[in-house]
Symmetry: C2
Subunit: 404 residues, 2 copies
Amino acid sequence: MFLSNLMPLEKALHIIKDREVIAGIEEVSIIDAYNRVLAEDVKSILNSPGFDNSAMDGYAVKAEDTFGSSQTNPAHLNIVDRIGAGKASHVSLKSGEAVKIATGAPVPEGANAVVMEEYTIEKGNDLEVEYSLTPFENVSPKGEDFKKEDLILKSGKLLRPQDIGIISSSGHEKINVFKKPKIGIITTGNELVMSLSEIKEAKIINSNYFTLKALVESSLAMPELTHCTDEAETVSNQIKKFLKPCDAIITTGGTAISKGDVVVDVVDELGEVLIHGVAIKPGKPFGFGIIDDKPIFMLSGYPVASMVQFDIFVRNFILKMQNIHREPPIFKKTASRKIPSALGRTEYIRAKTDGDVVAPLKIRGSGVIRSMVESDSYILIDENSEGIAKDEECNVLLYDSLKA
Amino acid sequence: MFLSNLMPLEKALHIIKDREVIAGIEEVSIIDAYNRVLAEDVKSILNSPGFDNSAMDGYAVKAEDTFGSSQTNPAHLNIVDRIGAGKASHVSLKSGEAVKIATGAPVPEGANAVVMEEYTIEKGNDLEVEYSLTPFENVSPKGEDFKKEDLILKSGKLLRPQDIGIISSSGHEKINVFKKPKIGIITTGNELVMSLSEIKEAKIINSNYFTLKALVESSLAMPELTHCTDEAETVSNQIKKFLKPCDAIITTGGTAISKGDVVVDVVDELGEVLIHGVAIKPGKPFGFGIIDDKPIFMLSGYPVASMVQFDIFVRNFILKMQNIHREPPIFKKTASRKIPSALGRTEYIRAKTDGDVVAPLKIRGSGVIRSMVESDSYILIDENSEGIAKDEECNVLLYDSLKA
């Protein structure tokens, strides 16, 4: 009923882009916020540091009291207090006085510089200072890192360790982040079994089940998995079951035109099929539909085709649900040999890079998983191109650049 | 007692390299194997596919029966069986016969090619074939992906989705992977509190606690966290508590020379301090020791210094515990302005890249977390260099290239 003529890739991508949604927002503790995406602008609740503090272990003094001091002509000061880390001195320092303080400790009132321990000799309460300080030397001023009400991080930031560090030090314990979408994965196919012990006759192992879970994980989302046989009712019931808890559904198998290829028919019945059949290779029998406002990505049953379709259509959609916007770089590399390509289909040729050279793999079967394992990149060939000549420059997309 | 003269960076890295260990091996189900590192060579238990199978929905035939056929001169065959996905036909096909089969189904005995549905007209049991097939056309041969006993993946591979796909289809349900090391993180410092509500006087928030957890997570390891005050006995007890369950320990704070800087003293008492003080900037007061054969990384209490020390000394060590070997690329970029640097220390200048240009940040304080947040890379300046001139080429290491 469908797949009569193929949709150009650009048009299919456009239709899918129009259906992008954010999966929602949730509050998490900052201790669990690594690799999450910030869903609010974070402003500081405090000054950091909260007070002028010592950048060194040493003595807080008035810089003026040390002017002209040296090893041969030390200044003599009177130690009036000693404070350790986490403590504050309540002394108001006068000329001729010093307070021993630790790194990070507040510089007492009246002091304006800190002399490093190495430049002093302490004898009882007498301190020899063999160094001439400039005002504010070794003092980290209050608010040096950031001030109360400063904008620390903007919404949309994928949180790195240092980002979590600054959020914590700005006084927040919880923050709003974009939800990790829950992605329902339904593999279909009477011929598929889950393990070696179930193999008999025409059965094969359902590798898509395992691969797609990992693909969804590599997109920082949460997979919810099940397998179905090819009966329309079974597939229909499973889709209905996943619609509510999941933010999107991925199916494999049942997207061609023959009898028994039920997935596209079921989606058409439950909702709307917006795409069926795209001018790409491999991966032509790709479908996309909407049921109750939830996107349904219908991937091929062939392992390689489904991986390529995931990379082209699904990965970015899932990342954008978390407000992660990425544009993996396209590298120019030299083709190690001639690559023929048919007009009218955008090709994703599995390839192996070696420096500035890229070699297309010879195996092209949609079922040969080894070709995805032995390659590290796609050579992209435009639908209007008849291929690439040996030593010609071509566009290369590295697998490693795809994962979040 | 220590930190009297600084060790060159290369020597410190060499000492740490000598203490590299593997955290161990464990068996996991392949469904949980994404981003784990394979700890065995994986050989296939079966042929994949296990039988010659159809690459198309169509009809299995003898190619010879279709030689010379075309739309105007179709061959006529007799449909003797029809099989769906996951089923096998037990027919032994004779000349003049056809069996209807689905994609992936076994090609019946006697057949050697499959004609696509699109090139046929089915009328009852009569099949018109409007196409001349070559032998083996549209047949995926048994073992096309891999054969029984083939080496599928080598030990040491960081598993991508396609790798998990091929392992599953080769018949394995569980595999051996390298253990994720458990990393004990002990932050120290009387001045540190865990939240805004505890701030008073000279207290500040313990951002290292949150940052280091994320840094360990970004290295694919499992953090185990605690905070201690500065008393030697407290720190000593905590280290002893973590020694057994953890594969390595990271501390922050207490690595300088002043009183109250207890961590290095405690490690010296419990085991051996191999490094204390390295000629780098920031991060000079770095320590490394061994207690009961477990590595102890003693990082500075200053947030920026501890992050840089993690990047230089700890990250790769943790990755190698999982048998992950990475060499982040060093890029050549043009300095947007002059960068002075002192002889004798390797500098890690926080910087921001923009295409081929790199701008060093002006803020350099070891406590200014904002400098790590606003930068995306380090400019590396050799200990023998006095700095970089404006528009000179310099070596740049991107933060994003560091995480696993």
